[in-house]
């Protein structure tokens, strides 16, 4: 227990030292560079230097966010607004980039943070190693170092508030040093955490920024949702037009001919009746497939769990489905989105993974539906680019759902989806 405490205090001291040094070097340099660069914008040079300097500032701040997560388990969200994808190149692009960065409230908060970091932030951080060093120094004085530094002609050698001028006062200095070390053992971790709390209060997006981010996200996902549903409607229209509708037209024509033939040539009429029945059966099959693609009947009848079970039974690969959703069904829109997401992931697995077993695990807890699809195939699946997975990601985005893929080369592949929703 004491050993761990000591190690932790030492570690916190080292971290505090690093943080303070960063504050006094990088923060100061970057702050000065930023101010100079922004001041140079009117004469043109600044337009080119500012984005570069601000990018460095962001990297510096991101490094601190990383430390906060690693050293103090504090999560500091990243508030920067993304650059639009269609940013132009050349000088106009550079001007646009510069304007965008300056318009972003997060930039100015970063600069304010630099100021705080080089002062209060660094000061808090340096206390951690300071306590330990000061304590060691006090003990060293008591151990005899005082004889080397004390010169009776110059008066007392001050250790904090103790005038060291003999063994008795040196002993007191030693006691005080011990006190500092013990104090350090107890508060060092807290000091580093305090530093990161201060950092978070400066760097984390305020409610306005959060709101803006939320609006951005909603705009994006709404856009995707509208696009997706429009594409779906187009597909359904095309399927109906080329499929069932065309077959019904043909059937109507057939029936007309049969009507004309029924007395003149009953045999021929009979044959055509058989064809007409066949095409009505085909139209039904097509409609059934179409309905399955819009909203699978078993999903409407049984809910998500059984719909995925029924889906698994139709796959050519042995698939185990494990469902844990007690207390009701998820809302219809989420149910449908989750179903099609799982369906798409399973289709991908069947087509590309080369797996011979698939496991689907679905459970709902704490307002979150979690679905994972694992296969024992060859791996190498990616979420980005134009892959089917990015389409799923977009569709889940409408529900604030997320998708993660873990697929090392050689497998296995695991696709995990999370959608916030309530059971009803």
């Amino acid at each position: 227990m004491n050993a761990t405490r000591a190690r932790d205090a030492l570690q916190a001291g080292a971290q505090g030292l690093a943080l303070a040094l960063l504050g006094w070097t990088a923060s100061i340099v970057l702050f000065v560079l930023s101010v100079v660069s922004i001041a140079l914008i009117p004469i043109g040079v600044g337009v080119f230097t500012t984005p570069a300097v601000l990018t460095l500032v962001r990297a510096h701040a991101d490094r601190r966010r990383l430390f906060a997560a690693e050293w103090a388990d504090l999560h500091i969200p990243v508030p920067y607004r993304p650059h639009p994808r269609d940013l132009r190149t050349g000088i106009t692009g550079q001007v646009e980039r510069c304007t965008l960065m300056l318009k972003d409230g997060a930039t100015w908060r970063d600069l304010k943070w630099l100021l705080v970091d080089m002062t209060a932030g660094a000061a808090t951080a340096i206390l951690a190693p300071g306590l330990l060093v000061e304590g060691v120094y006090g003990i060293a004085l008591a151990a005899g170092l005082w004889t080397a530094v004390y010169d009776s002609a110059d008066g007392a050698w001050w250790y904090d508030f103790i005038p060291v001028q003999g063994w008795r006062t040196a002993f007191l200095a030693g006691l005080l040093g011990l006190f500092w070390i013990v104090l350090g053992l107890y508060v060092n971790r807290a000091l580093v955490t305090a530093h990161f709390r201060l950092t978070r209060s400066m760097l984390a997006p305020d409610s306005r920024v959060k709101l803006a981010q939320r609006v951005d996200r909603l705009t994006e996902t709404r856009h995707d949702a509208v696009d997706t549903s429009a594409a779906e409607l187009r597909r359904i229209e095309r399927d109906l037009h080329d499929g069932a509708q065309a077959r019904l037209v043909a059937m109507g024509m057939n029936l007309g001919t049969i009507e004309a033939l029924i007395e003149k040539d009953p045999d021929q009429a009979k044959k055509m009746l058989a064809t007409a029945r066949e095409s009505s059966a085909e139209a039904l099959t097509e409609l059934r497939d179409l309905v399955r693609g819009i909203h699978p009947p078993v999903l409407a009848e049984r809910g998500l769990g059984d719909a995925v079970r029924a889906l698994a039974l139709r796959l050519p690969i042995a698939t185990e489905v494990d469902v844990e959703m007690t207390g009701g069904r998820v809302g219809a829109p989420v149910e449908s989105a989750a179903y099609f997401a799982v369906s798409e992931v399973l289709t991908n697995a069947v087509k590309h993974s080369g797996a011979d077993r698939i496991w689907v695990d679905m459970h709902h807890s704490a307002g979150m539906l979690r679905v994972s699809v694992t296969d024992n195939g060859s791996g190498g699946a990616t979420a980005g680019g134009g892959s089917g997975l990015s389409g799923i990601e977009r569709r889940l985005g409408t529900f604030d759902g997320v998708l993660a893929v873990s697929s090392p080369a050689g497998g296995p592949t695991m696709v995990t989806m999370e959608i916030p929703c309530e059971l009803s």
């Binding site: 059966a281 099959t285 059934r288 309905v291 009947p297 078993v298 009848e301 049984r302 039974l313 139709r314």
Partner: protein
């Protein structure tokens, strides 16, 4: 033969009633909701029930659930389930008790009156009537398996028809071969799948279905 019919679409219900009456069935009740069906099955003790999977008021799989519950209360109660779509999941639930007297068909099958009536009679007599689509799905899933893969095309055909619940005579008529040839094919199939031979048609069908649905 007394029939209880549950179907919520008026046109289809009406058409089925006419068709069944034309084939000398007696319609004990033609109902349109789940609760009505449950009551009719309990009170009228029909020889066979024809039930649509999806029924009001919930418009979920209410018909199927009513049928399963009624079969639990009266094991072996013949039930023919009709649906706009077929799911192996439902077929499995219907077959689970292993007593027979069940059917599961697409609604399209009523187009062919003779075959449909044949299926109703088979179910009423304690046999089975599985939709060809269900059997094809089952077979395509097992196609990679060695025993199923080793069947000749003809044996596969026979097996498909047998799994649907057809008798040897019906299979022979459909494939235009003699009954003896069909019997030979069936014994080959049972040998290849490693299943014990049953003389009883019905138990034979259930054994094949259980084999296909395994794993």
């Amino acid at each position: 033969m007394r029939v209880v019919l549950a179907e919520d679409l008026f046109l289809l219900r009406d058409g089925l009633v006419r068709m069944l009456e034309a084939y000398d069935f007696e319609i004990a009740a033609a109902v349109e909701t789940g609760p009505e069906l449950t009551r009719a099955l309990a009170e009228l003790e029909p020889d066979v029930a024809i039930v649509d999977v999806r029924l009001p008021p919930s418009h979920t799989d209410e018909g199927l659930q009513c049928a399963l519950a009624a079969r639990k209360a009266r094991p072996g109660l013949p039930v023919l389930v009709l649906s706009q779509h077929v799911e192996q999941l439902y077929a499995r639930e219907l077959l689970a008790d292993g007593t027979g007297g069940v059917g599961y068909l697409l609604k399209d099958r009523v187009f062919d009156a003779d075959q449909f009536i044949d299926a109703v009679r088979r179910v009423a007599a304690g046999g089975t009537a599985m939709d060809p689509t269900v059997i094809q799905q089952l077979l395509s899933r097992r196609a990679a398996d060695k025993p199923v893969g080793s069947l000749t095309p003809r044996e596969r055909e026979v097996m498909e028809l047998m799994a649907q619940g057809r008798s040897n005579a019906a299979i022979a008529a459909q494939l235009v071969v003699t009954e003896r040839a069909v019997a030979k094919h069936t014994s080959n199939i049972f040998a290849k799948l490693g299943l014990g031979v049953h003389d009883d048609d019905n138990r034979r069908v259930l054994a094949v279905l259980a084999y296909l649905d395994r794993g």
